[in-house]
Symmetry: none
DNA sequence: GATGAATGAGTATTCATTCAT
DNA sequence: TATGAATGAATACTCATTCAT
């Protein structure tokens, strides 16, 4: 019953980081269930034993990898909201925001989306993690609009729908291979929906 | 390497059906990865060996179970499309359609949604199965609208977005617990989007 | 969570027996803690997996092996008590009884005494098993004497002491290497103690 | 392969002592096989590495802990022998001796008897250690009697039997929970045996 | 077709011991 | 001396799949 250590030394922190990265990589390539802890350790360049100094068990690696992964994805999205001037240029701001979302998803290619989303559906803890992050974004969007004086009846419902549309758009754009032309078409449809939500 | 038989005798067909149903049940209760084939056989009331007469391997049970599951979910949805008179009462038809979708998802409670969706993300074959069924529905919607003389630019993009909105609506309504009031609010927002798509 | 089966078919019963015998053998040769389940299976000539059809876990093999072992040791001892005529020839009967105990311990050489006794000290379940068997013998001795009209004050205390003396005698005779001469000397001392207990 | 040091500095000696005490404590609480060296080090308040400066391996801790433990148990017993005047008051002396044995066993509660005895049966080295100490006591008893002019034929055999009786008495008194009344009964039976050995 | 006993490769996790600092 | 992070061999137990009956 070894207790889990929080690494303090620089080298230890790096080691833990390497394990997380290795996890991200292999889980995304082969899937969580097809990956052994020995494999992760090997790719991280550490011994199998040390993994259990920093992680409670295999799933703990997944959760911490997801944490990092979500951080990378959602941070630029949240940042983008602060720089959008929805009041002056609503359509342009939304367009810019969607494109940043798209980019954030593309950057995060280390961990295949399907695997992430799949594990978040299958595993309660992983799902809860994602849920919390998504709620943060939804709330941030509502606040950003409100700060810009933009409002509408049933705004929460509206934003949730909008968020899901954008998320599906990003996932589709990554999963399937679409022409830039088609991507733009979809983007324009989304903008139309957004405009109608607040200015119809 | 026993060859997989297609059962012909009535009792054999029933036996295969029982295995599929047992699979649906246990996968949904405990998840694919936490279920053993022996367990499925036991619940189906057959021997473990016989499973491999009808199914190539464990995943084959999953795929055939998904097949059945999708059949149950999508058939009423496809049927609904034929009975909608989008021309006379567009809004009413969409509303009716969404409600039928909602009902179809609720009926299919045998197999937990999260588990289905999760496996469809993690496993390519399962994913392909779902994709094909969803495309059928999307195409059917387009055709139904077109048969009713309703059209718009970029109709495929529009319908895909609409389909995703409705799907997310159904899943959210099942996963989370919302008041009937809120459900109605969201439903109205969806109808608004749909109307704007074709009549703005 | 496979359930433990009680083998019914002749071949299965033999298989379970072979595993127990293999356990007896290897535990006694190498000790419980230095033995792997794979080793037991190999010596039993079965696969590692089948072990867990018949035994809950590794310790379950030990306990069932001990059960068999105790059966072999204590049955002849209990039988002997029925054939002793303590009334007519007390000394001769006790002598005969002790020699049968000695023989029973020697026969049971399959499972080293030290290992048995050690595990019975370290493990509560194993200890309880031994305790129960030993109490059976102690009670049987008391009954045999009583049936022969032989009694004394504090008979339970007396018999427990006597039993321990005989047990230690058997163990010493097996553990250490003594001359037959010395063995006889000790035996005579024991007889003297026994006689004094009831006829002084 | 660090060489084992004999600590010279006071602090080092104390450190080694702390490890031994920690070993005694945890082995007795959880058993040798359920204890990790890291645990011992932690309880001793030292680093895991330092343990291997003073001890060859885990078993070496056990052996030195046993050494200490036996010292504590047998020293008062050996001392008692010097103060017994078997010549003047044989029965009283024996009684006193047995009571001191009982007390010595009770004092040594740091290290559970079952664990000690079990390990001495399972492990040859531990067993040899115990054996040597017990032989010392047996020889000391013989000498004490002889110094008091008390002798008998086959005295070695007699004393060994007596020693085992007393040992079993002490262990039983600790393992099982008996009334003081019963304890006294057994003690009297033992005294009777002892008297008969030398004065019948 | 049907059974369920048997197989054995596969894996997460532990822990005595070492070693860089 | 002292630390405690790192090592990696070792192992109980599982389970998809096969096969003798």
């Amino acid at each position: 019953m070894t207790e889990i250590r929080q690494p303090i030394k620089r080298t230890s922190i790096e080691k833990k980081q390497k394990i997380i990265n290795a996890g991200l990589q292999v889980f995304s390539e082969k899937g969580y269930y097809n990956t052994t802890t020995a494999e992760i350790a090997q790719i991280a360049g550490v011994s199998t034993g040390i993994v259990y100094n920093y992680f409670k068990d295999k799933k703990d690696i997944l959760l911490q990898a997801l944490q990092v992964c979500f951080e990378n994805t959602f941070k630029p999205i949240l940042n983008a909201l602060n720089q959008c001037d929805f009041r002056c240029d609503f359509e342009g701001s939304i367009r810019k925001f969607v494109l940043i979302c798209l980019q954030a998803h593309n950057t995060e290619n280390k961990f295949a989306h399907r695997e992430i989303m799949g594990m978040c559906m299958l595993d309660q803890d992983a799902g809860a993690l994602l849920n919390q992050k998504e709620n943060n974004v939804i709330n941030a969007i509502i606040k950003a609009l409100s700060d810009n004086g933009i409002t509408a009846p049933n705004i929460t419902a509206k934003i949730k729908i909008l968020y899901h549309i954008i998320r599906d758009f990003c996932h589709t754009a990554i999963f399937e291979n679409h022409s830039e032309n088609y991507i733009n078409t979809v983007l324009n449809e989304i903008l139309e929906i957004a405009k109608n939500m607040f200015f119809s």
